[in-house]
Amino acid sequence: MTPQEAAVMVCAAIAVYAAIRVALEPDTLRKLPFLNVLSFAITGVIALVLPHPLGIVAAAAYFVGSTLESNAIASTYAGGLDRRE
């Protein structure tokens, strides 16, 4: 097994674990840290299976997009606008 295959296996296993934790957590805001772990794992898998310069852009775009979504969900759920807006 190459280091790359070992890394993909670890990331994929953690992604599945995080997805299960997201599904089991009843509180919406407390789901988000688990969702964050899921995003990290998927970003890792994207970079590991797409070793191309655009793979970095794809991984970063996915990660920043999912972070922005979590930010929007949390801020909306908390019932307020971003303080800096």
């Binding site: 990290f40 920043v64 800096r84």
Partner: protein, 165 residues
């Protein structure tokens, strides 16, 4: 040693290095001081309601709400894996753009990305693969965000107290 066992051993070492990198930089940039956006504050309060600690919860909320040093470490590892140091620097630029998109005025993400690029490249000279750092960072974030929010928020609050608040 069997090659796959060696890879898993490297991944565990990489996880420890990534953990130290992102925790130290997030503490230096005062992430546990308060929520950067209302969503991060709310996540901290919900974690506290479940028996966690407030300042650790704020830091976890901030990690969720904007690319911080942990995201910087992950994307720097991806960048170095794909294109060496230039890839790490491209990742730094993307994290900087991500911070601005998420209304984060801080520089924890970009700083973490630059330090991680240097660290990951340094470890490749010792026989590590950048791919092992990608898996290592995923394990490191799982220990904080994905196992027990109560215990990890208490640990982060304790570290915040050690730093001096």
């Amino acid at each position: 040693m069997d090659i796959s066992l060696l890879a898993f051993a490297h991944i565990l070492v990489a996880a420890a290095v990534c953990w130290l990198n992102f925790i130290v930089i997030d503490l230096i940039f005062r992430l546990p001081a308060g929520g950067g956006v209302v969503g991060a504050t709310a996540i901290g309060q919900h974690i506290k309601e479940r028996g966690g600690s407030l300042h650790g919860g704020y830091m976890m909320g901030n990690i969720v709400s904007s690319p911080d040093a942990s995201a910087g470490t992950l994307l720097a590892s991806c960048g170095v894996f794909i294109a060496g140091i230039p890839g790490g620097l491209l990742a730094t630029l993307l994290v900087y753009i991500g911070n601005r998109i998420c209304h984060d005025p801080g520089y924890a993400g970009t700083t973490g990305c630059v330090t991680a690029t240097c660290i990951v490249y340094g470890f490749t000279l010792l026989g590590f693969s950048p791919a092992e750092f990608i898996a290592g960072m995923v394990i490191a974030i799982m220990t904080i965000q994905g196992i027990s929010h109560r215990h990890s928020s208490r640990l982060l609050s304790w570290l915040w107290k050690v730093r001096g608040g």
